[in-house]
Symmetry: C2
Subunit: 430 residues, 2 copies
């Protein structure tokens, strides 16, 4: 395994580094002079991976305007947006913890984000305030050898699909990669850590984490109550563990570049597919994704509760939200057994009275220690699931587009065909 070659492919080259430095220095200067003109006493700080020299090729420039806590949040947002738009005339506003401006300079993505000045282990006003602390801590604990290891680790995680702490990914953030290499020493050591047999992976420096039920816990050195790896999902942790083990056994460049997606043999599956398609509200992915995930879970659990035996499911969201579910059947029995109270209960009388007067199919008869009756039920999946979803809360923003849900049995659009393809070619990377 020629790590130098991988590094050369994945790390920015000298020209890109120089460009990023030149652009961020110049933007920083401009912001500083604007602040001084506006008589605002704030500092400009380059944060994120570029500021730490741990960026992969094509990284962003994150410029933070760090305000003293004497300012109000609305003030720093106002100043932040104003300066953002002056610096990036084509910039757009985006909303994380609060609004900020992003745009492009010479093809590089630039974020201009206002935040408050904080000290380590302070009670933070918001999560963005942590970034300058992270930058400072990481730079104080890094050397160029480790920077290289971090870039290898990030490239590996990106290759196997576990890199990125956005909600829809549930993976490892760049900062967690940095902490892992700083704590464990090298790319190789990090992989050995994940490939081990410990049931629970914890890097807590003997500070027991208050959020110990997370799949993985890495204490944030600038805020020791915080789990820096809180975003990592059980699946992505499993993926990282299993594929670290595979890589250590048989290293290959594939791990850095993504595995090929193979189509399965074309056999009749004797199952039923449904694709739920609905409008995508115009909101940040991190806001809308948890609601899509909630809807997927509701579709699967209702399919299960209602007896359609779901096998597996998959989400894609492009222009619309599409959720696929594969079922054992799309027709269930037209009858079901409805159980009454146990034999010792006086309520058996009411149960038998009710069913003496109400239409039913078989019974009442006795099963185990209860009277039961067989009743009719709706048998087609679409009828059942539509009425089940009607009563469900699928999240503030999706509730409003519930009416747009269409159910397809075969993919009808490019996005739906892609979803089907994603489902059928699923591999270890996702």
């Amino acid at each position: 395994m020629d790590y130098e070659k991988i590094y050369a492919r994945k790390a920015p080259d000298g020209a890109e580094r120089r460009d990023l430095k030149r652009i961020s220095d110049s933007l920083g200067e401009k912001i500083r002079s604007l602040l001084s003109k506006m008589r605002v006493t704030a500092e400009v700080q380059l944060v994120g991976s570029t500021s730490k020299g741990t960026n992969l090729k094509g990284g962003d420039i994150d410029l933070f305007i760090v305000f003293p806590t004497s300012y109000s949040r609305s003030d720093i947002v106002k100043v932040g947006l104003k300066i953002g738009h002056m610096i990036l005339p084509d910039g757009q506003e985006k909303y994380a913890e609060h609004p900020y401006v992003f745009g492009y300079v010479e093809g590089h993505k630039i974020d201009i984000v206002p935040c408050f000045s904080m000290k380590e282990n302070d009670n933070l006003k918001s999560a963005v305030d942590r970034s300058p602390l992270h930058t400072r801590w990481v730079n104080a604990n890094l050397d160029d050898l480790k920077r290289k290891e971090i870039i290898l680790l990030k490239a590996f995680m990106k290759g196997i699909g576990v890199y990125g702490s956005e909600v829809s990914k549930g993976g490892f953030s760049g900062y967690v990669c940095e902490l892992l290499v700083i704590r464990l020493g090298s790319f190789q050591k990090v992989l050995e850590f994940f490939a081990g047999s410990e049931k629970r992976l914890r890097l807590t420096q003997d500070h027991p984490s208050p959020i110990d039920d997370a799949p993985m816990v890495v204490t944030d050195p600038v805020d020791r109550k915080r789990n820096a790896a809180a975003a990592v999902s059980m699946e992505n942790l499993a993926r990282m563990r299993i594929l670290s083990r595979e890589f250590l056994n048989k290293p290959s460049e594939e791990f850095f570049d993504g595995f090929p997606r193979k189509s399965p043999p074309n056999i009749p599956r004797k199952t039923c597919f449904r694709i739920f398609s609905l409008e995508r509200p115009d909101l940040l992915e991190d806001v809308i994704y948890p609601q899509i995930e909630k809807l997927r879970k509701i579709i699967v659990s209702e399919s299960r509760n209602e007896g359609f035996h779901p096998i597996d499911s998959e989400i894609v969201f492009g222009r619309r939200i599409n959720i696929l579910v594969e079922l054992e059947n799309d027709v269930r029995p037209a009858i079901k057994i409805h159980a009454g109270p146990p034999a010792h209960s006086q309520e058996t009388r009411k149960f038998l009275d009710k069913w003496d007067k109400s239409p039913h199919v078989r019974g009442p008869f006795i099963v185990d220690e209860r009277p039961v009756v067989e009743v009719k039920q709706v048998s087609r999946f679409n009828d059942v699931i539509i009425s089940a979803l009607r009563d469900k809360d699928i999240g503030a923003n999706l509730n409003s587009v519930k009416g747009s849900i269409r159910i397809y049995s075969v993919p009808a659009t490019k996005e739906q065909r892609d979803l089907m393809q994603k489902y059928m070619t699923r591999n270890l990377t996702g």
Copy 2:
């Protein structure tokens, strides 16, 4: 509710009583004289309901030959069979705890059974030895008023399908009916006992039963370690409780005569039926029934384990054994998810190695914290169940006729149509 009328319909009339008395006296005399000719010092005792005056119309005559314990079991069986055949020239042998002869005299069924003489709470040599003790105890504790109540209780239990302690019935024996009336006072009181809200029904006279996990416990007064109601199944106890409650609320003769069986409305059930038909070995019902029941349970559990979602099942045994099972589907998906070891285990390497080289459909991919792979599976019910049954032990006597199992999707014989009818018209009495 005119109990006198019910009693008159269900109890033997004067002529029948006189006939039974005459026949049993005369048979008893004959046996005694044969014993004396054979120089065997054994006593003849009329046992069972006829001996206690608690018999329903058309009851049997049970004549026991009670031997001192100085005799060996083989001796008493030899003498018992010899005398049996002399008394009942057309008699046949039957096997309970040991062989005995039964036959008919003037249309009344006669059992001639050898047993050992025992005292109360002795360690019994076999269960038949208890009958003379039961007869003695019951007669010492009964008056004619209670005899009437017992006959009503037996007729009620017979009407609702819970009378009879044979294995295939799992109901209440005549002796338990007698104990219940003796302990509780009357037919009405017994029904009130069952209709109550106690979770567990126990009549133990403060003798905690060693077999307390039975659905119902009634201490046998002649053998206080024994649960006289051990044969009662959970279903039949539930049936008795629920229908006692119904009867007390609205008494009707129906309870003594059996409920009508109503055919359900003819709707498409969207389910699949299978009837397993096999040869009936020429053995006592009490021997073969537990094996049939075991086979039914295996068919249901294998159907469930293999993903065919059984709904309900039913047995009839006439000339052949027929077991019906209703399934949600008779075709399951042609694929299934096969899960590997958890992510922390070093065994994930073997799992991925194996499936890298073995044919599969989708994957491997990650679900929760495991690598999984999707593999093909046989999808037709008959193929799956036949191979599942091949490896199963379905009991010594049924194993030998396993080869005769035929599986039908629609009833093909009168017995199978009756089975279907029994299943579709199931009511509270069974």
